[in-house]
């Protein structure tokens, strides 16, 4: 079964039009994002890959409303939203669970902030605990959980907050390879059940192809959209697909695009280091 790639009948859930972000670094302008156009449909799964320092995290900060773009507009459900903060779910790479709260009480944080009664919020969280592989751990503190479980708890917190869109910033980046694979398969299942709109950042091309309907490749700084690729692999997907011919071909195409940017990013970085030492300043990281 293939899902429609972009639903043109209804406005896209999130649309970025010509979004740019410039900072000033030691009086020198620093262009982090340059005219980004991006579109995520309702219930879509879209990934962004790019070399480190391409401004992916800045992009997420802008979409979530933590920062404002220098230029361009962000449309949510076809509407401009100047006060987006709190309407877009954001799951950073670190789990950022509150260590003094049990897993259950961490999960309900978003609902609690919205003013939902704790008892009601807990009931809702308990309903999903099984699917998130956290049954039996509701009264545990984060310190006694494994890395994969903490990430799932953080994802449950994002899901329960029930935002229009979920931004996932390399959620599996810090996990070991085996755990990551099982987490990816699990996320595919969960996404199928929950039908949430997901925008996903990753360094991992396999992960992007396996999970997404569409992949955006960003350039090295300043971050521009270098390539947009629709992933027309059948669903439901499993990890076995990574060796299929169609998968390998898509992966090759994306890798080629990223490789060019990685080299450019490296060159740029050495240029920065050279400039910084020239001025006796600190290395820009």
């Amino acid at each position: 079964m293939e899902r429609p790639q972009v639903q043109y009948s209804s406005p896209p859930k999130i649309e970025l039009k010509g979004v740019s972000k410039h900072f000033s670094m030691n009086g020198r302008p620093l262009h982090v994002l340059e005219k980004i156009d991006l579109c995520v449909g309702d219930g879509d799964f879209v990934s962004i890959i790019g070399p480190s320092g391409c401004g992916k995290s800045t992009l997420f900060n802008i979409i979530s409303g933590l920062e404002e773009p220098t230029e361009g507009t962000i449309l949510v459900d076809g509407q401009e939203m100047p006060h987006r903060l709190g309407s877009v779910g954001y799951m950073p790479q670190k789990d950022l669970l509150l260590p003094w709260r049990t897993i259950l009480d961490n999960a309900i944080l978003g609902l609690e902030i919205q003013g939902v009664r704790k008892s009601i919020a807990r009931k809702e969280a308990l309903r999903l605990l099984e699917e998130f592989g956290l049954r039996g751990f509701e009264t545990s503190y984060p310190a006694s959980l494994s890395g994969g479980m903490k990430q799932r708890a953080a994802l449950l917190r994002t899901v329960l907050a029930d935002k229009k869109v979920m931004l996932l910033d390399e959620p599996f980046g810090a996990l070991d390879a085996l755990t990551r694979t099982s987490m990816q398969e699990w996320l595919l299942r969960i996404w199928d059940v929950l039908r949430k709109t997901i925008l996903f950042i990753t360094h991992d091309v396999d992960e992007a192809v396996l999970l997404s309907n569409r992949v955006y490749v960003l350039t090295a700084r300043p971050g521009r959209v270098k390539l947009v690729k629709d992933i027309r692999l059948p669903r439901p997907r499993t990890y076995d697909m990574v060796t299929s011919a169609a998968f390998v071909e898509l992966k090759g195409e994306l890798l080629e695009a990223i490789k060019e940017e990685r080299i450019r990013a490296l060159d740029e970085e050495s240029l920065w280091v050279a400039r910084a030492s020239e001025h006796g300043g600190r290395k820009w990281t």
């Binding site: 409303g65 903060l85 950022l96 902030i113 592989g133 503190y141 310190a143 006694s144 917190r157």
Partner: protein
């Protein structure tokens, strides 16, 4: 595919230390007990062998018999000192926490108050104790004030640090969940500051007894500090030692009470510490 099946996970981390409880207790308590016992025996033997006059250096058995013979008197004075410590500490806890919250929440309060909080520590307490005597007399109040003045500084400074210890990423995550300023404060900053508050409280409780004794030395009609001054002037040295012994026991017990309440109030912190300790040992 079965959606309800969670992916395989690492099993729950075993939290037991892999040791039986009496054995672990023996490991913790035997070394200090041994050191104390050896020191006491050495003291007794040396003091008897060298025939130092008793009023100059009483032996541990002299001190023990002094305690036994004047236990009623000691109990009365201990109760007075304990009241001073408990009240002064309670005042410093309430004022200290309130001040720390105000300083962390408001930049204006921080700029206005923080210099005075620090300056208050540069004033020698011994120097203002006579003033308190003039203003408040020989009763409980001046001692409570001295104890509170000594205790409140570590409480304020540690709690302010704790309230500021939260990573900006954590606060940003809370903002994306829709949290506003006071929610960040009550749901993240205050709970995050509690381990720091307990660190400050442990320092405060350890010095609180000193504050009470200073207050009593300057002028009092009861309390262990007063008892020490009176005994010393009559060369009842064994009684002075007895008072010192009771004061240090009081300090240790108060410290233990704070440490135990930390375990009950912050069970998560205890879990975290134990995990870290295990990681270090393995």
């Amino acid at each position: 595919m079965d959606v309800n099946r969670p992916p395989p996970t690492n099993s729950r981390i075993d939290v037991s230390l892999g040791q039986t409880r009496p054995l672990a207790m023996a490991r913790d308590w035997l070394p200090p007990a041994g050191i104390i016992l050896t020191a006491l025996i050495l003291w007794e033997v040396v003091a008897r062998a060298t025939r130092v006059p008793r009023w100059l250096l009483p032996t541990p058995t002299d001190i023990g018999s002094a305690m036994a013979s004047s236990w009623e008197l000691l109990l009365k004075h201990t109760w007075v000192t304990f009241q001073e410590v408990a009240l002064g500490f309670a005042v410093s806890l309430i004022v200290g926490i309130g001040l720390a919250l105000a300083i962390a929440y408001s930049k204006v309060v921080e700029r206005g108050m923080y210099p005075f909080v620090i300056a208050s520590q540069t004033i020698p307490i011994i120097a203002i104790a006579p003033l308190l005597l003039i203003w408040f007399g020989y009763g409980l109040v001046p001692k409570v004030i001295v104890v509170a003045l000594i205790c409140f500084f570590p409480i304020v400074v540690n709690m302010v640090d704790g309230l500021r210890s939260v990573e900006p990423e954590m606060l940003n995550m809370m903002r994306t969940l829709g949290a506003v300023r006071w929610q960040l404060f009550t749901k993240v900053q205050i709970p995050a500051s509690l381990p720091f508050l307990f660190s400050g409280t442990k320092i405060a409780i350890a010095v609180s007894v000193i504050g009470a004794v200073i207050g009593e030395w300057v002028g009092a009609s009861a309390g262990l500090g007063y008892f020490m001054v009176r005994s010393a002037s009559q060369f009842l040295t064994a009684r002075v030692f007895a008072a010192i012994f009771i004061l240090s026991v009081m300090g240790v017990l108060l410290f233990a009470a704070v440490a135990i309440s930390e375990r009950y109030i912050l069970p998560w912190y205890h879990t975290e510490k134990r995990q870290k300790a295990m990681a270090r040992e393995s």
